[in-house]
Symmetry: C2
Subunit: 278 residues, 2 copies
């Protein structure tokens, strides 16, 4: 199979490598010419035989919209040339959420995709090349959009799981009786209810920095947590733990807390309680 792959960053770059290792041809494009196989989307389209399959692996929002718009122009005349079947249904579209991060090249990428069966069948060889070995790791989740939605919820769950370990770790570090928190975490890797890949990664992190002294307590977010909470609001589904986890990250980025200034001010107003001034 031949595939155009647009976006060769941390995810796309390794995905190109994994698909190639499975014996397929990948023509990669990226705005960064050092990463790209071709210098433009036009060249990418020209390098592929019709009917063309192009995977768009760029950030959500503007970059994806711009890429799809440009591809639409490039592919459209071509689609019209290549027969009634393709023209009748326009350009096929499959959405695919991809999990696996920097470990995906080695372990495979978990794939969640949405769309019509016939469109998915066309790209199935690429999905098979990317997915982990074994029975699991890929799913036709539903209609167009279902793949990205499932991946978004996956990341929302991830937020609360990470927060769960982080809270437990902070509490263990806070008490005198527990003298070796890192070894407690390590021991949890077998036989416990909370064993998981994220726990393994936590142990890796503690092995390189036992009390995380080198880090600042500052956590970014890439958007999936926000979108999960927004989807929950759209559907009136309560997500107390995921929302709390997202908001804890927001609080972590404040040099000073405006809301705690207000709490302190009000305690002072009604009770004369002492405040901490700058």
């Amino acid at each position: 199979m031949e595939l155009g792959l647009i976006g060769l960053g941390k995810m796309g770059g390794n995905m190109r490598e994994r698909i190639r290792r499975a014996g397929h041809t990948v023509v990669g494009y990226d705005r960064n010419p050092d990463l790209a196989d071709v210098s433009s989307l036009k060249d990418l389209v020209a390098a592929l035989p019709a009917p063309r399959v192009v995977w768009v692996m760029v950030p959500a929002g503007g970059p994806t919209q711009d890429t799809v718009d440009e591809l639409g122009e490039l592919l459209e005349p071509d689609d019209e040339k290549h027969g009634a079947e393709l023209a009748a249904k326009g350009i096929g579209f499959v959405d695919c959420g991809v999990s696996g991060g920097v470990w995906g090249l080695k372990n495979g990428y978990a794939l969640m995709y949405g769309g019509k069966d016939e469109d998915i069948a066309k790209v199935q060889p690429v999905f098979d090349a990317l997915k982990p070995e074994g029975d699991f790791g890929s799913v036709h989740a539903g209609k167009i959009g279902a793949g990205h939605f499932a991946k978004m919820v996956h990341n929302g769950i991830e937020y609360a799981m990470m927060q769960a370990y982080a809270e437990g770790w902070e509490l263990l570090e806070a008490v005198d009786s527990v003298t070796d928190v890192r070894e407690v975490f390590r021991s949890w890797q077998e036989g416990t209810v909370i064993r998981s890949w994220l726990l393994d990664l936590a142990v890796n992190a503690l092995d390189s920095d036992e009390h995380l002294d080198k880090l600042k307590g500052y956590a970014a977010d890439s958007g999936e947590g926000r979108w999960t909470v927004e989807a929950a609001i759209d559907n009136a589904v309560p997500l107390p733990a995921i929302t709390a986890s997202l908001f804890a990250r927001f609080a972590s980025r404040q040099d000073d807390s405006p809301q705690m200034k207000m709490i302190a001010a009000l305690r002072n107003q009604f009770g004369g309680h002492a405040v901490e001034n700058k």
Copy 2:
């Protein structure tokens, strides 16, 4: 090694079996005579050679206090008879948190223990019999109390992890585009960031009841979540996700929500908003 084991319920009963399979002698006592090897704590003490090792595996609070009180009376005269060494330090005490639930007999029990090195050395053969195979699954967490504290935090983390999966599942079930939520969960078992043993159990549950239609949305708690939040309060450590998970369980047990009556009443008072009456 010979061991007295008090409490032969879901945990203790299987632990007795696993320790016996490792070649040790276990004398078990339970208030339920159908489960017990001996009919009283006195008989249990009489059946063991000194210096005796007794594992108390009964519920926290009253049952543990009563058992330790009674054992103190039974063991004390014996300790005095058996030499200066034991008398000088009284009865040794090691606390041990045990994870593994009904799967522990097969997979081993994760153990977190606290106490003095010399006391732990005495019971190490039993710990070795109970722990999972492999390098992990047991830890000397610190001083007396550290084992139970680590196990308590383990369970607090478990609350928020369970809530994370539960929230994600509810959101996926709520949208039309995702047509096969169970298969999405199954696909997550390989290659994803959120793969875990709890995820495997969630898939098991969905395989026997795809939409959990047979269950009521009612979740009990056994105390560890409450104790974790209480410990966090004692140590002024913020646990937003774990606390939210515990409180979500409390809300699940209400036939009707008193606080939501108040919210509805206030919306009606200030804005004339409609209310739902019984």
